[in-house]
């Protein structure tokens, strides 16, 4: 008898709870699938962990809408997504440098956006130290979105469905810089690329293995490239000069540190999805992987702060070059690039 009544009580309570929960979800349609931040098993622990910014479908949906909202820019022509295109792994296809408001050309190549939750610093010079404050740079740069946070707040406050979306995401229609930045982060930090062929081989998934060329390329890569392009992110996130110019036109890292030995240094970029992130280098000077490999084999200039590991360049014969390129293409993550959850909807 006792047991039976307990079962009934529990059942009744669960139904009541479920009813209460479903009530809260009225209003703006949430994304159908629960948005999660998942750490691939071959990745270390992330730097950003959503502890102070609880991830929700509503927060993600708002962040994504803001990311693709061109009306935030000074002339309503440029959104984050303009220079960070999903089909280019959120880099900017065919643009050497980013193309901002009023047709202004920026000075650096828009980097791809993925695995940002593992980065401690952002931008080519590492000037920004927290993913949450990264968008402020693009928002205020005269050559990117050319606006300011006050103008954006005023726009969002007076434009449906934003106040309602903020309420869904953060529990209040109050809109300030903090909730704008936190919602954008709920979108950008969730962009995880860890399902390339390389990852699946490393995780020994479904018996997937490298071809002979890919395997030879991987062996070569580990011998010649990983001292900078370290696994699993294919960057060690350090700042180095790779001898593009005798004297760099862009001061790079020293703009942030004020240290002369950092002049002309830029963050080592990830090689993940490199098949789709052309053009390459901080100023987008190379359009193809062959041009990049040509640079390392014969184009490295003896600039003042040249990385010691590149003093003699990196020579590859023709078959090695084919193998390296075959390996680099295993870093393409089509599940990421084609994931409709990240697309403008």
């Amino acid at each position: 008898m006792w047991k039976k009544s307990i079962v009934f009580a529990v059942l009744f309570l669960s139904i009541a709870l479920m009813y209460a929960c479903s009530k809260n979800e009225d209003g703006v349609e949430p994304e159908e699938k629960k948005i999660t931040f998942s750490v691939p098993s071959n990745f270390p622990a992330p730097v950003y962990n959503f502890e102070e910014n609880k991830l929700s479908n509503a927060g993600f949906a708002l962040g994504k809408k803001l990311f693709y909202e061109a009306r935030l820019s000074a002339d309503k022509s440029v959104s984050c997504g303009s220079c960070h295109q999903q089909f280019a792994a959120f880099a900017n296809l065919d643009h050497k440098v980013s193309h901002g408001v009023n047709n202004c050309q920026g000075k650096r190549n828009a980097p791809p956006l993925f695995n940002l939750a593992w980065q401690k610093a952002f931008f080519w010079d590492g000037g920004v130290k927290n993913i949450e404050t990264s968008p402020l740079n693009a928002i205020t740069d005269a050559c990117e979105m050319g606006t300011n946070i006050e103008t954006i707040i005023a726009f969002l406050k007076s434009t449906a469905p934003y106040p309602e979306m903020f309420k869904q995401a953060f529990g209040s229609t109050e809109i300030n810089s903090q909730v704008i930045l936190k919602s954008l982060t709920q979108f950008t930090a969730v962009l995880v690329s860890g399902n390339s062929k390389y990852d699946k081989v490393m995780r020994k998934e479904n018996g997937i293995s490298f071809t002979t060329d890919e395997q030879a390329g991987y062996t070569l890569f580990k011998a010649k490239c990983t001292s900078c392009h370290a696994e699993p992110f294919f960057t060690d996130l350090s700042y180095r000069n790779n001898g593009l110019d005798l004297v760099s036109a862009d001061e790079g890292r020293s703009h942030i540190t004020g240290v002369q030995t950092d002049f002309g240094k830029f963050r080592v970029p990830s090689l993940r999805n490199i098949e789709y992130t052309s053009p390459y280098m901080h100023d987008g000077r190379f359009y193809s992987l062959d041009e990049v490999l040509d640079h390392y084999s014969s184009g490295v200039k003896a600039s003042e702060n040249l990385d010691p590991s590149l003093k003699n360049g990196i020579q590859l014969n023709n078959s090695e070059r084919t193998q390296i390129k075959a390996f680099l293409k295993t870093l393409t993550d089509n599940e990421f690039i084609k994931n409709t959850i990240y697309g403008e909807s």
Binding site: G127, T133, N176, G258
Partner: protein
Amino acid sequence: MKLLQYLLALICPIILLSSCKKSDNEIAVDTKSSFTIEFEHQVNGAELALNTTTYKNAKGEDFKINVFKYYVSNIKLSKADGTTYLVPDGYYLIDESKPTSKLITINDVPTGDYTKIEYTIGVDYARNFAGAQTGALDPINGMFWTWNSGYIFVKLEGTSPQSTATNNTLTFHIGGVVDPNNTIRTFSAEINSANPLRVRSDGKPDMHFIVNAASLFTGTTDVSFATLNFTMGGANSVIVANNYTKGLFRLDHIHN
């Protein structure tokens, strides 16, 4: 029946625990109160007036001030017996153009006699990198660098006929937390033990500080606007920070 026994076993400790709590409350005698700090802005003894009045730096060069604002944070009070109280989550942006910002209220301070006050001129290292903030630390206040993230600790803008910058402007944005250009500075003042800061449940004292904007340009290195009229972090900001560490704040008096 068994269930009843379990329930009893569960309830007894709860009752015991809650009874413990009660006696704790009775023992607690901590009382808290508040005090205020007033920042009076001056330039070498004269009242600071934005945009209009001409002042002289230590080199005898004329200048006017259009913007003067700064952060005070991590306020720490000490008693004569060495015990201290750190004001939690306390970040204050004092702005000459916003008179109400020049009077701050510190709440929930344990009552007692305090004989020393210390605070950070600027924002501590961790908060510079802590992500999106609100209140005094909201980037909307124009005290946050977007390209090299971190807070501007002290901002003074103005003009001087000696400045070689376009329109003779002066731009002193002092900040940066990484060596060798770390500009985090701490101010401390001993309080006369004959008239300590007496925080009482029925008495809310007021501390009055004189803030000398001209201290940015003298103290360790006399600044000439002909050679230094623009800094946004870096080595020149360190020169200015080393100057104002010495003379920006002076505890003038306390009303108990």
